[in-house]
């Protein structure tokens, strides 16, 4: 018994293996949020006047808003004046300046430890990475190689300088700053993130990926990602994230905008593993993100795949606006909550164009004392003749103290639309467990097997390297939750 306890404790302690901090000289601006801070951020990044104005407009609008409370979440009070809005870990060096810049070896080590080697020869072949720590992009790999094909993959700060016409055209066109409270906040103070542009007819030869890391204490991360996929182009984009273990809640309020044009296809995958807080629910990242894709062209396609295992609170709805005729959108999600984690996540599918199609597959797994909610909207506008939606959201409950909830909304304004929704909630059946036990598989492993089987439909949609990581994550996130 004693021995078992030791083992369990070991497992529990190693649970969040990305919880270390990096000791690196970081330039952090004073806490607080005001017009001056917005100006300061803009100045530090050397931004043009139009972008500063965009930020200020967003900030002034944000000041008129109140934080939303409608989520099925118990949100800690966020003091927006107690957060530093800019932290630069490359202060000692020049930051991301393409391939030439020197990177602090400490930072290199950090990303190595996270399994994201920044040296191209060490990297997994076929994946280009933009590594973002706190408010600054540290390095973007394989840029030259991508450039040959005309693909632009860089941090958004560089894009503002090098491709201002593109950024100006698309920034805020999918998620306007008036969209919601957190979108307005992000539009005012956003720091780094990735910019991707795939030109007409180009199939991106490798997976593009951004790795987000929060390191500095008392800061929040407000990254902004913009992906534009021109006619007949294709890209697969991955996003990963981790943060150190801290007692305080750290705020992460990002915006991801995707523009998909005629016959183009974008796959966006996320493995979200922000620090979820400890077993008592202390600390953890508040993940309040606005993600939206606009399917502008005919027959365009977009798929969101997300594996959500981290964060104390996850509150996001990666959405698709299907305005191009015949466009198709997919949403695959696995959300795991354990201990005191809370998630209120799902998607919005807004059908505007004719013959549009969307599929939603959502799998929620709740354990410990966590609350896991699926909330989704399927809206069929009057113009969306023959729109088709299929949604299925299942919840799996492990333990009697957790909660699983489903709140689907369906607004149908067109009689030729066919919209279906189904949901089930259940626990792992005793028969399944018994069957595994009988064959010598212990309960913990059996649960892990069953959960993986349950989530397979979604994990299969991830690129291979991510799928392996996601599977491991699922196992780790649920460890100690059985029995």
């Amino acid at each position: 018994m004693e021995e078992k306890n030791v083992f369990v404790r070991e497992v529990a302690e190693k649970k969040y293996q990305y919880g270390f901090t990096t000791d690196v000289q970081t330039e952090v601006i004073d806490k607080g949020l005001s017009e001056d801070v917005v100006r300061l951020i803009s100045e530090k990044k050397g931004e043009p006047q139009w972008l500063l104005e965009f930020r200020l407009k967003a900030f002034r609008y944000w000041q008129t808003l109140e934080a939303p409370t409608w989520g099925h979440l118990k949100m800690p009070e966020i003091d927006y004046q107690d957060i530093s809005y800019y932290a630069n870990p490359t202060a000692g060096n020049s930051g991301n300046s393409g391939n030439s810049g020197e990177i602090d070896p400490e930072l290199m080590k950090t990303f190595d430890k996270l399994g994201i080697p920044l040296e191209e020869r060490l990297a997994l072949s076929g994946t280009a990475v933009d590594a973002v720590m706190d408010s600054v992009s540290v390095k973007t790999t394989f840029r030259e190689k991508l450039k040959e094909k005309g693909i632009i993959f860089c941090s958004i700060s560089e894009a503002v300088k090098e491709h201002p016409e593109l950024v100006r055209e698309y920034l805020g066109s999918v998620v306007p700053y008036k969209d919601n409270f957190f979108a307005a906040l992000n539009s005012a103070v956003f720091s780094d993130g990735s910019f991707v542009y795939i030109p007409k007819g180009v199939r991106c030869p490798m997976e593009l990926s951004t790795y987000f890391r929060i390191n500095a204490r008392g800061t929040g991360q407000f990254e902004r990602t913009l992906i534009v996929c021109d006619d007949d182009a294709y890209v697969s984009y991955l996003e990963g994230c981790t943060a150190p273990m801290r007692d305080e809640n750290q705020l992460h309020a990002a915006i991801v905008e995707i523009v998909v044009k005629e016959n183009a296809e974008v796959k966006y995958s996320t493995v979200q593993n922000w620090y979820p807080g400890d077993a008592e629910g202390k600390g953890g990242v508040l993940n309040l993100v606005t993600k939206r894709g606009h399917l502008r062209g005919r027959n365009s396609r977009l798929s969101w795949t997300q594996v959500e295992t981290g964060s104390a609170i996850t509150w996001k709805y990666p959405s698709c606006v299907l305005s191009g005729e015949g466009s198709q959108a997919e949403f695959y999600s696995v959300a795991v909550t354990n201990n005191y984690q809370q998630a209120d996540t799902g998607t919005k599918m807004i059908h505007i164009g004719k013959n549009t199609k969307s599929t939603i597959i959502s799998k929620g797994i709740s354990a410990g004392k966590s609350q896991n909610a699926y909330r989704g909207l399927v809206k069929v506008a009057k113009t969306a003749d023959n729109a088709r939606n299929y949604s299925s959201c299942d919840s799996l409950l492990l333990g009697s103290k957790c909660g699983a909830h489903t709140f689907p909304y369906m607004d149908v304004h067109n009689n030729t639309a066919v919209v279906e929704h189904e949901a089930t909630t259940s626990k792992i059946s005793e028969d399944q467990l018994f069957y595994c036990n009988q064959r010598g598989i212990n309960t913990e492993e059996a649960v892990s097997l069953i959960v993986n089987g349950y989530a397979k439909e979604v994990i299969n949609k991830l690129p291979m390297e991510f799928a392996v990581e996601a599977q491991k994550l699922l196992g780790v996130s649920l460890e100690g939750s059985v029995g």
Binding site: V380, S400, N415, H421, E422, A423, T424, T425, S426
Partner: protein, 406 residues
């Protein structure tokens, strides 16, 4: 004070005394509190989650004359005016209704009389009890209707409540029904609404079920103007079962909003919900069904289905089936669909010589039949089949089935 509630508050200031005189002690007691709640809350706006799809203030805005006539209950077994009830109703009246709801508060404030249906323990009511609400009058009228149903241990009853309007005036009904279903009781409760386009109905039904009780509620909205039905069911005793069904046929500018909550407070209970809508012309349908399984309510089985047929492109459907679950050993599912009449089915029927119009009617009627077939009485089933058929053909007149002027 918001402007929209002023006419009701002013009315109460003038007529409050008269209301109290015509009413009885148990109904007068909560009035002052209800007035306070109503004035403080005002009509719920669309920002209130449960009233998202209905504009309450607009429905209550017209200047209605408010009916203050006491009930006339004669010769109906088990039915009584509240002042003549055979039991002390204090532990029941206004005990279950959601007092934080402005519409319930308004009803509590303005109701003059209440109908009490009381079935003593181990009593089986032989014949179904039918209550007909007939809206009549040349003036635009608002009616506050209050019904209290108490079934003691192992009592059994079947109750049919029908809403009809005789005159072409505007009518606004604000009804509150409280049901106390004791341990082992069986209650079948049916509501049938056949009014006209100028009628607005707000109904709030609160049901509380004891151990091993069984309740079957079906609401039929066959013809109406604006309707908003709220159903709250609390399963308080283990082994209880509830079936909540509903069907809606709407066309023209009709608006029907059903909002239900099934609260599984204890384990080993079952709930089943089936709502079906057929929407034509520019009608608007809304359905929000929330199933709440509280912590510790293990072995709950719950199914919720909402299926909708939109026959025109201007009809709108909002549907929102919700599961909120805090216990792990449960089996819950919900499903909802919005679709149209299948072309294959139409083609099949036309191939066999059935004209398109008739084929559409048959398919709509078959769609609704699933709900009607759950009713255990043949007589009521036949009647409803007949009414639905007539309704779909557009032949349902307001006087159908009413003997008042014959």
């Amino acid at each position: 004070m918001a402007e929209d509630i002023r006419q009701y508050i002013d009315f109460y200031a003038q007529a409050g005394k008269l209301i109290c005189e015509r009413s009885c002690e148990v109904m007068n007691a909560p009035r002052a509190e209800a007035l306070r709640t109503f004035s403080a809350l005002g009509f719920p706006t669309k920002k209130v989650e449960r009233y998202k799809y209905t504009d309450v203030a607009e429905d209550f805005a017209p200047n209605y004359g408010i009916a203050l006539t006491p009930l006339q209950v004669k010769g109906l077994p088990y039915c009584h005016r509240i002042s003549e009830a055979p039991i002390d109703v204090t532990p029941y009246y206004n005990k279950q209704a959601d007092n934080q709801d402005a519409l319930v508060a308004l009803n509590t404030m303005l109701s003059v009389d209440a109908l009490v249906i009381y079935v003593p323990r181990n009593t089986k009511v032989e014949h179904p009890i039918q209550i007909s609400n007939i809206l009549k009058g040349e003036q635009d009228t608002m009616v506050n209707r209050r019904i209290l149903i108490v079934l003691e241990q192992c009592a059994e009853a079947d109750i049919v409540i029908t809403d009809k309007a005789v005159d072409q005036s505007r009518f606004l009904t604000n009804q509150v029904i409280e049901v106390f279903a004791g341990d082992g009781s069986h209650l079948n409760l049916y509501e049938v609404e056949e009014t006209h386009l100028l009628c607005t109905r707000y109904s709030s039904v609160f049901i509380q079920q004891g151990r091993d009780s069984h309740l079957h509620h079906t609401s039929f909205t066959l013809f109406n103007g604006h309707t908003r039905n709220r159903m709250d069911v609390s399963l308080k005793g283990e082994g209880s079962e509830v079936i909540l069904n509903g069907c809606v046929i709407a066309d023209k500018t009709q608006h029907v909003d059903n909002n239900t909550l099934i609260d599984h407070q204890v384990g080993n209970c079952q709930s089943n919900e089936l709502y079906k809508y057929v929407l034509d012309d520019s009608s608007i349908g809304a359905f929000a069904g929330r199933i709440l399984v509280r912590e510790g309510a293990q072995k709950t089985i719950s199914n919720e289905t909402n299926a909708n047929l939109c026959a025109t492109s201007s009809a709108r459907m909002y549907t929102q089936p919700m599961l909120e679950i805090y216990a792990d050993d449960v089996k819950c599912s919900h499903g909802s669909t919005v679709g149209q009449i299948s072309d294959e089915a139409l083609f099949y029927m036309r191939q066999r010589g059935i004209p398109e119009k008739e084929a559409r009617l048959l398919l709509k009627s078959a769609f609704i039949t699933e709900v009607i077939e759950t009713i255990p009485f043949e007589a009521l089933r036949d009647r409803l089949h007949y009414l639905v058929d007539k309704r779909l053909r557009g032949e349902l007149s307001k006087c159908e089935g009413c003997k008042l002027c014959k």
